[in-house]
């Protein structure tokens, strides 16, 4: 592993950000819009609800965490898409760079960009709606870590899908967070779901984070074990996603997809 090659991928994205406001704005714009929308919803709910529940850390926190997961996943895919959009595969994959170095570069890039997004969301949520991440205590750290790992895993898997199916399959990728959200129990306990959906929830690391988050907010005892299980599943998914990407890359090399990668040529 030569980190200078992974650094090249990070630097490339830094150059792109520096030269284009259209790439900087989405780092935090949609998340901030979500925070504003849900911030007012939670304020309203706090006013009209008869229960003692504080909806700010429960709903607004959930939005913040879920947007963060989305940001991490799409950070990986967007960095990969830069090579798709600029038709750079032949140049980049004919360098000495190994797959592990390329993926490390994608992950490092998304770690930086999603941290910027998270900071923007936290500032907005705390300044405008009084959400403090201290309300999650030390559990804030494992929650964030599990979501980072889960986002990276799905991001790499999404890259493998686009590499295999071609640029036109990009539209499969953008709705993935929206498809996962109902199963992850972002806004409600997993027990609310029908039994078959709960089975899917159990294999989604994010569901352990959101269950834990609700326990913290409701001042219930928070068990670390479920969050650790979520982290373990996420790590397993990263290994699985890496294996998938490597397999797809080998397939692409065997079948000439790297050499003639375009929407027209990939079947």
């Amino acid at each position: 592993m030569k980190f200078s090659r992974a650094y090249a991928i990070v630097l490339r994205y830094a150059y792109l950000l520096r030269g284009s406001a259209t790439r900087i704005v989405p780092l935090f714009a949609w998340s901030v819009i979500d925070i504003v929308l849900w911030g007012f919803i939670t304020k309203y709910l706090n006013r009209v609800a008869t229960s003692e529940i504080d909806f700010v850390p429960m709903l607004l926190g959930a939005v913040l965490f879920w947007d963060f997961f989305t940001r991490v996943m799409q950070g990986v895919t967007t960095t990969f898409f830069e090579d798709v959009w600029s038709r750079n595969f032949l140049n980049i994959f004919s360098t000495p760079m190994k797959i592990s170095e390329y993926l490390t570069g994608l992950v490092a890039t998304t770690t930086i960009t999603s941290t910027v997004g998270l900071a923007a969301m936290l500032i907005m949520a705390s300044a405008a709606f009084g959400l403090s991440f201290f309300s999650y205590g030390l559990m804030f750290i494992p929650f964030v870590l599990v979501l980072v790992l889960f986002g990276i895993a799905f991001g790499i898997f999404a890259c493998a899908l686009v590499l295999r199916l071609g640029p036109a399959s990009e539209w499969f990728i953008w709705p993935i967070p929206a498809i996962l959200a109902p199963f992850a129990g972002v806004f409600y306990p997993v027990s609310t779901l029908p039994e078959w959906m709960q089975y899917i929830s159990r294999i989604l690391p994010a569901s352990y984070v959101f269950e834990g988050m609700r326990d913290v907010v409701s001042h219930r005892t928070v068990a670390l074990t479920p969050v650790l299980i979520g982290g373990g599943i996420a790590i397993l998914y990263i290994l699985l996603a890496y294996w998938t990407f490597s397999r797809v890359y080998r397939y692409a090399v065997e079948n000439g997809l790297i050499a003639r990668y375009s929407a027209e040529s990939v079947g």
Partner: protein, 262 residues
């Protein structure tokens, strides 16, 4: 006539050895059992009509396309087991693979310099900008350059790691005659001074005659002819290399005898 000395010492050490190379897509045979060697300081022209298998061969040497059969070794190492090490000292430029248009010339060179592990990268970038007359475009995004300027940026990228093996797929296709002459001179000087082996494809037979030490004619994935580009036409009853090329493209059977490995 190009202002380049045609005399140089070609090493007996092969940089590139291709043996029994074959690529099949379904029922289509793109490259059919070709074998050849390329030595240090040598410029080998890979010629043939569109679809002859030239680019497929280059892609296999670059490791971005897996051969169906056969072996490729560079500096004694086979590409299957030493891909990364080989590519550290290999590079390529092709008219169909421009560098990302959303980065500037200097940014692209820095990114690829890092990927190829180039030491003293800043100095190297300056040297290449001057060498390819790109200093004025240092901070210009590649996407807004003319096709000729983009070709020169691609060549600068190809020279960035001082390769021992350089693959050039139609390197002067988008250049005006004056710039093409300059690039040919650079390529030839580079081959002479830096112990590099160059595999080059071109449809410009004038260029091939003046730049290549040896040529291979490919037709339907097979090597049909091999030899000195200045002597081959006479040996096959043709006046010029272009006439020979047209015969290869239109009537390959009239010339067909599969060439043994060099």
């Amino acid at each position: 006539m190009d202002a380049v000395s045609p005399t140089k010492q070609i090493s007996s050490i092969p940089t590139l050895v291709v043996s029994g190379l074959r690529k099949v897509y379904g029922s289509t045979v793109a490259v059919d059992d070709i074998s050849f060697e390329l030595r240090q300081n040598e410029i080998l022209g890979l010629l043939g009509p569109n679809g002859a298998g030239k680019t497929t061969t280059i892609n296999m040497i670059l490791g971005v396309l897996k051969p169906t059969a056969g072996a490729i070794s560079v500096d004694g190492k086979d590409i299957v087991h030493h891909r990364s090490a080989i590519l550290e000292r290999t590079n390529f430029a092709a008219v169909y693979a421009p560098l990302p248009g959303n980065l500037t010339v200097a940014q692209n060179l820095r990114i690829f310099g890092l990927l190829y592990g180039v030491s003293h990268l800043t100095e190297k970038i300056e040297e290449l900008l001057a060498m390819f007359d790109l200093t004025a475009f240092r901070n210009t995004k590649c996407g807004v350059l003319s096709s000729g300027e983009q070709t020169r940026v691609g060549l600068a990228k190809a020279f960035i790691n001082d390769p021992t093996l350089l693959l050039l797929d139609e390197p002067t296709a988008s250049l005006d005659p004056s710039k093409a002459l300059e690039i040919r001179t650079l390529i030839r000087e580079f081959a002479r001074e830096r112990s590099v082996a160059i595999l080059l494809t071109s449809h410009n037979m004038y260029e091939v005659e003046h730049i290549c030490d040896r040529v291979l004619f490919l037709s339907k994935g097979k090597i049909l002819l091999e030899g000195d580009p200045k002597l081959l036409p006479q040996q096959h009853g043709k006046k010029t290399l272009e006439e020979l090329f047209i015969t290869v493209a239109r009537e390959p059977l009239s010339l067909e005898h599969v060439v043994e490995p060099s």
